[in-house]
Amino acid sequence: CGKIPYRIDIDQGNFITQTDLDRLSVGMTKDAVQRAIGTPAIQDFFNQDRWDYVQRFRDGDSQALQAGRVSLFFTNGLLSQIDAEQFNEITPEPLDYSTRDRGQ
């Protein structure tokens, strides 16, 4: 029985959507990108001009893993390349802590 023992979902990164991505266009400044789709999950210490938007979700019950990422590259401050092949739009279904709906 896969459901036992109970494991919680492990979600990581930013769950951006295709509509978010469509707002991006080469030449945007870093600020504009951040306003459009938010702060990236990874701003690597040694790669200041590369922003990675990572999506990762491991479902507690099924242990199935959905993962994806979008990497943005900047040259002197402007967006120069969007690598979205491995983009994976994840929309986790709502939690079912409802066995006792005591919203807090």
């Binding site: 023992p5 494991r7 930013n14 999950a41 066995t99 005591r102 919203g103």
Partner: protein, 738 residues
């Protein structure tokens, strides 16, 4: 004009050493100085707070500094204070810099007088007279005399509500704290006026009306006046009720994040009901929580009422602005000096660098609150500077006294003196495992037990527990019968969570028991031992399912815990039998601050295979502090032929407790007082079960989690005792874990 300072001379220093003074004087030998800078230097020197008088002048190229040091406070004499103890006053004064050894400053004294007056007025001593006087002592010191005439504490003579039509004054006054003197005013002091209490009460009256549809409700004026002798306080509240409104319709605007269907079932009231602000706000919070579950941490939900005054109806619109999707950047814990970071972090449902989720964050708080050595936890969400879509979360915990070593002397009204030595650490050598050693010695039982638990044997919270024990039980002391038993055993159990609130435990082990009988024992026991032997070895397999939705493990205020357990002694043991148990305790909030808790307990055991019935030494007993209060411990149910208690293999008990409100307030964490009704009995077998045999008792109980150990005290009165029942109205235990 300017001059170079060849030398600096200081006159008048007493307490301050020259070295210290030159450290504060912003002038060195050889500096070029202009007389125009003198005022600036003097101002700087005043800031040191040491001097009453400073003067600078030039004599040739020598700078002369004349100072008069402020006097130092010597003794402080306080007379006439009864309501506030002298130590507290001295601490208060030293907080303002007025204490022996400090420099004396008239301004600070005036400020102290004002603050002391306010303290007395806050305790409704409006007629207090305070005189603070400083008299000089030799060596530039002063003695402070504080003369207080406290006067009488004013009490509320009358609270007059004007303009109430829909509800009686009595009904409204019941809702607020302040009141005229009642029998309990001596303790609750609710007949003493304070501005804050009144503001709180006004808000209560407003909430009372706004929760019953009175949208136009308004407080006209609140007038507070003292009698001229300052002994009485009169409060008059004038209000305009207006008419009650019903809700005509509910609508939502900005439904891109959550669709209307979902929003509709978040509404906490029905269209057509009277408008109730509490329910309207609850709906608002439900929407915010739902948005929080979709990572919108900074959403704004506005309630826009459209009031139709002709037919007294209001249509409500919730304007939803979801804001930006938010990520949780860092989760930090504060106040954990004894508890490892990991012990708290592994309870978290929300991860760092992950989408913000309200339910996970709220549930995490509840899980930390349920940890054994945490008494309280609060959560703060701190926006990250410069990152509008990120937030840090800080959980501030207060740890309870670590029960690392407890050498407690307990006294149970039934078990006599109890000496308990226990060592437990929830973090054995930093490994996050719980290790507990327990030695209990009372007239009734002597027990050594080792327990080793790893609550996170796997990352997902599967726990593993070893338990080893040796126990000598004297049933005579427990008023059960003139026989003793030595028990020993070793068990291994695994705890496996099923979901957020349910888990089951599976395990097994070996246990042994050896029985010796005294001469006054019931004859049936030696016959049984003669037939089956005095020593029994048992191989046990046990299983338990628990659903626990309480907000706290101790002194919970909401939710319920239900437990089903089963124990089977398998073939190969000397006796083969099984035991089943079902237990439930549920907590309800009745009125806004009254708590009801209801519990039920069913235990049944029987033999199988070659064993006809449950061996007598595994029987259930009833009566006493943990089952039916008011009856002597273990005294109910079937008896042997010599009238010793025999117990039985079916026990049904239950009860209800009402927990008094005022103790839910300030010390809800440490004290619980209430009234109870207990009922139940034990039967030799299922077919003897008869509800009319139930014993009932009622009474009062007090539980205090004192620093020394829990005190459990009850005064119970049996309602339908029969002859032969042993009564024990007053029962208590100290130091025995709850």
């Amino acid at each position: 004009e300017t001059f170079t300072v060849e030398d600096v001379r200081v006159d008048g220093l007493q307490r301050i050493t020259a070295g210290s003074f030159f450290n504060y004087l912003p002038v060195r030998q050889g500096d070029r100085l202009d007389e125009a800078d003198f005022p600036q230097i003097i101002r700087q020197l005043y800031q040191t707070d040491f001097f009453d008088y400073i003067n600078l002048y030039k004599e040739g190229n020598t700078l002369i500094v004349e100072v008069e040091e402020r006097p130092v406070i010597g003794e402080i004499e306080i007379v006439g204070n009864k309501e506030i103890k002298t130590d507290d006053l001295l601490n208060g004064l030293s907080g303002l810099g007025i204490s022996p050894g400090n420099t004396f400053d008239v301004a600070k004294l005036k400020q102290a007088e004002r603050e002391l007056l306010n303290v007395y007025h806050a305790r409704s001593k409006f007629d207090v007279i305070i005189a603070m006087q400083e008299n000089p002592l030799p060596d530039n010191r002063v003695q402070l005399n504080v003369d207080i005439q406290e006067g009488i504490s004013a009490r509320i003579q009358q609270i007059n509500i004007v303009g109430n039509k829909a509800f009686s004054e009595k009904e409204i006054l019941k809702k607020i704290d302040l009141s005229t003197t009642k029998w309990h005013s001596l303790f609750t002091k609710n007949d003493r006026y304070s501005g804050d209490k009144l503001r709180g009460d006004i808000a209560e009256i407003e909430a009372f009306y706004l929760d019953r549809g009175f949208l136009d409700f308004k407080i006209n004026s609140t007038q507070v006046s003292l009698t001229d002798d300052k002994k009485g306080v009169y409060i008059t509240v004038s209000l305009v009720e207006g008419l009650p409104y019903r809700v005509k319709s509910v609508d939502f605007v900005g439904t891109d994040a959550i669709d209307k269907a979902q929003l509709n079932d978040m509404i906490a009231f029905e269209v057509g009901d009277y408008y109730a602000r509490k329910a309207v706000r609850e709906t608002q919070q439900n929407i915010k929580n739902a948005l929080g579950d979709k990572s919108y941490a900074f959403s704004a939900v506005q309630i826009i009422p459209d009031i139709d005054r002709e037919n007294n109806e209001v249509s409500l619109t919730y304007a939803i602005d979801k804001g930006r999707k938010t990520t949780v950047r860092r989760i930090q814990f504060a106040g954990n000096y004894k508890t490892n970071d990991e012990v708290l972090r592994r309870e978290m449902r929300q991860f760092e660098s992950a989408p913000y989720n309200h339910t996970k964050i709220a549930r995490s708080l509840e899980r930390i609150q349920r940890l054994q050595n945490i008494t309280s936890v609060t959560r703060k969400e701190v926006p990250v500077a410069g990152q509008p879509d990120q937030v840090n979360i800080v959980y501030e915990v207060t740890e309870s006294l670590p029960r690392t070593i407890t050498a407690g002397v307990g006294y149970g009204s039934s078990s006599g003196f109890l000496f308990n030595l226990g060592y437990e650490t929830a973090n054995f050598f930093g490994t996050g495992n719980t290790f507990a050693f327990d030695f209990n010695n009372s007239t009734e039982t002597r027990q050594y037990s080792f327990t080793f638990t790893d609550p996170y044997y796997t990352e997902n919270g599967v726990s593993r527990t070893f338990n080893l024990y040796y126990r000598e039980q004297d049933e005579d002391e427990a008023e059960i019968g003139d026989w003793t038993s030595d028990n020993w055993g070793a068990f291994l159990r695994y705890g496996i969570p099923i979901n957020e609130y349910e888990s089951f435990r599976i395990g097994g082990g070996y246990r042994g028991i050896e029985i010796k009988t005294g001469d006054e024992v019931a004859p049936e026991i030696p016959d049984y031992l003669a037939e089956n032997g005095e020593r029994y070895d048992e191989f046990v397999f046990d299983f338990a399912w628990t659903n626990d939705t309480r907000d706290k493990t101790v002194f919970s205020t909401s939710g319920a815990v239900t437990r089903l357990n089963a124990e089977i002694v398998v073939p190969g043991s000397d006796e083969t039998y099984y035991k089943l148990g079902a237990r439930n305790r549920t907590y309800f909030g009745i009125s806004d601050n009254l708590l009801l808790s209801v519990r039920g307990d069913l235990s049944y055991g029987d033999g199988y295979g070659s064993t006809e019935e449950l061996p007598f030494f595994r029987n259930y007993y009833a009566g006493g502090l943990t089952t039916i209060r008011g009856f002597e411990s273990n005294s109910l149910g079937p008896k042997w032929s010599n009238d010793d208690v025999r117990g039985g293999n079916l026990r049904v008990t239950g009860g209800a407790e009402v927990i008094f409100p005022w103790y839910l307030g300030q010390d809800a964490e440490t004290v619980r007082v209430g009234s109870f009704v207990d009922f139940g009995n034990v039967y030799s077998d299922v077919d003897d079960f008869d509800v009319s045999d139930f014993r009932y008792s009622a009474g009062l109980f007090l539980i205090w989690r004192s620093p020394v150990g829990p005190l459990n005290l009850s005064y119970g009165v049996p309602l339908n005792e029969e002859d032969g029942d042993k009564i024990e109205n007053f029962q208590f235990t100290i130091g025995v874990p709850l």
